[in-house]
Amino acid sequence: MSYAGTNVESPLQPNWEHFPHEADMGVRGIGPTKEAAFAGAALALTAVITDPAEVIPTQPVTVSCDAPDDELLLVDRLNALVYEMATRKVLFSRFEVHLNAHALQATAWGEPVEVARHRPAVEVKGATYTDLLVKQDQKGSWIAQCVVDV
């Protein structure tokens, strides 16, 4: 684990972390529900680029996707966020996720990139199938993770 952080909505509960990959970076969301784990993974994605605490969650963007299984849904979801960040030139720091089977409806809040303030380290180009996992652990926590390409 390299970094971990907390969600603004549940500050006592760490809900994301990074895990190492030689050339890129692993993002992992952890939470009491699958939705929370998906939201945590999205926050971990932002944390690859900048400190999420520096991103003011003002503008909402709605994303929906569906996939044959939870893992592919996570990749689709993260890739949808990468697409929105790239085309709108924004960063996100707050996420709300609703899942219905393998269909996802989510809202992300963020603001336009300000290089001087956000000091973005790298551009995330997409989510990959490497170390891709969505599962509930023995303690009942959900984990949603994969490596992202930078």
Binding site: S2, Y3, H18, P20, H21, E22, A23, D24, M25, I49, P68, L72, D76, N79, V82, Y83, A86, T87, K89, V113, V115, H118, R119, P120, A121, V122, E123, K125, G126, A127, T128, Y129, T130, L132, V147, D149, V150
Partner: protein
């Protein structure tokens, strides 16, 4: 010799190793790794797993290969090369990489270190201003959707027609900077949206623009170097490493999803989801190939527009035209690509993923100026250690489908690098060592520290001694722009 694998690895010679098909169920051909014993010993387990997974793909011909800069990638290892029968074999985005036609470009000048050094700060500032880098950057070329379709189809030629380069540039670009078969109708709107504003941008991560110096000591083959316009005598050159940016990544992601479904339809099973593939002659395979060629052409165009900006920056700083400064292209070559190529034993669909084409002397694909010496091969090292120019050989044509290494390869994660050094400290240290860095992000800079990479000289020595490319020159950095 203790390797990071339990598989049997047989020594062919001091720089070539083979894993027989008996080591993994489903291997159709042996896997071969080019490396010194020391480099092989240090290779991560992922390389052995991944190169043998590639050896299981339908239609693979002769060997699955990995170069000495090999490390854990997505599907293929970085440094992976594999050729497939175009009729019975597959095409896989995992064998091309997400950054389609990520590649290297080298530009020479007639300037010497003593002429550039007094103006280096000004030059780097001007380059940093003219070549956008980092998150959220936009290119200076405003494209309509119709323009972008033309870029996808025409590649570097589109740039030349618009005044962003010289006619002579084209003959010094792999495939003249334009792959045939690029069909924008197979590119999604998502990919277009990501790519349309990025022409002429460097990106971030390990992409860079570097001002380099070639001393007499750095010349290994004066005759070949002279044919490339390299004289030594503290000559200044500029190296660019970048690719198709978010556009190529979106194309790769879009088709990985298509291939996930296609594999079920064609009854193909792969060892790793990132090796999702389809028969090359299938509609899905041909659609991806058409879209991949669009991304590859966009990458050639990207490096061409950046070249234009570099020439403009030098002109602004030194007060002479780029022609007067001798700013000719040495070469531009891809290291993430799939192409149909002809060899003595047939026509093959060659995937190079973090590996460089290295055609030998006499290859009809080479321009007149290089046909006698072989194709220039540009290998980028870390921003602290320098880079190499090599040349392709007959042996590469016989053994590696005309392929060789592409860079130094990481040995340390980005997180570990950031924990080891601060970007601002690295910036100051490099300045003291005579390397001026302009970086968008200090954090991103720390991730690219030299210690996070293999020693490129060791990697280059492996391919040189294996005979699949020969060393021509070593280039040392004096200025670097990072995204």
């Amino acid at each position: 010799m203790k390797l990071q694998t339990d598989m049997q690895v047989h020594r062919i010679n001091d720089y070539l190793w083979e894993i027989p098909p008996s080591e993994k169920p489903g291997m159709l051909v042996p896997a071969r790794i080019y490396a010194s014993a020391a480099i092989l010993t240090a290779m991560d387990r992922g390389v052995f797993d991944q190169v043998t997974n590639v050896a299981c793909l339908p239609g693979i011909h002769r060997h699955a290969l990995c170069m000495p800069d090999g490390h854990w990638g997505y599907g293929f290892p970085i440094g992976g090369v594999a050729a497939f029968d175009p009729e019975d074999g597959v095409i896989s985005p995992g064998g091309v990489g997400y950054d389609i036609n990520c590649g290297m470009r080298l530009i020479r000048t007639d300037l010497s270190l003593s002429e550039v050094q007094p103006k280096l700060e000004l030059l780097m500032t001007e380059l940093f201003r003219r070549v956008p880098a980092g998150v959220g950057s936009r290119g200076f070329v405003n494209l309509t959707r119709r323009d972008f379709r033309d870029v996808m189809q025409q590649g570097a030629a589109w740039c030349i027609a618009k005044g962003y380069g010289w006619d002579e540039d084209l003959e010094r670009i792999e495939e003249r900077g334009r792959l045939q078969g690029a069909d924008p109708s197979h590119v999604t709107d998502y990919a277009v949206e990501r790519g349309i504003n990025q022409l002429g941008t460097l990106g971030s991560g390990n992409h860079y623009l570097e001002v380099q110096v070639l001393s007499d000591k750095g010349l290994f083959d004066r005759t070949v170097a002279a044919a490339m316009g390299l004289t030594g005598r503290d000559q200044i050159l500029i190296m660019v490493h970048c690719g198709s940016r978010g556009f190529g990544h979106q194309v790769a992601s879009d088709y990985l999803k298509v291939f996930e479904k296609a594999m079920r339809r064609y009854g193909i099973a792969v060892k790793d989801q990132q090796l999702a593939c389809a028969p090359f002659r299938s509609p899905e395979g041909q659609d991806y190939f058409a879209a991949m060629n669009c991304a590859a052409n966009t990458a050639f165009a990207n490096r061409q527009v950046i070249t234009h900006q570099i020439r403009e920056a030098f002109t602004a700083v030194f007060g002479e035209s780029a022609h007067a400064l001798g700013m000719h292209l040495v070469y531009d070559v891809a290291h993430n690509i799939a192409k149909v190529e002809r060899y003595p034993d047939g026509e093959w669909l060659v995937h190079r993923k973090g590996a460089t084409r290295a055609f030998g002397p006499g290859s009809p694909e080479l321009p007149d100026c290089y046909r006698a010496i072989g194709q220039p091969v540009i290998c980028g090292g870390s921003m602290e250690t320098g880079s190499y120019l090599l040349v392709g050989t007959d042996r590469a044509m016989q053994e590696t489908f005309g392929s060789t290494m592409h860079g130094s390869g990481r040995t340390m994660s980005r997180a570990q690098a950031k924990r080891t050094v601060r970007g601002d400290q690295l910036l100051r240290d490099m300045k003291q060592r005579g390397i001026l860095v302009k970086a968008v992000s200090m954090s991103g800079l720390a991730e690219e520290a030299g210690f996070a990479y293999k020693n490129i000289s060791d990697v280059v020595d492996s391919v040189d001694r294996a005979g699949i490319t020969k060393k021509v020159a070593e280039l040392k950095p004096i200025g670097n722009i990072k995204g």
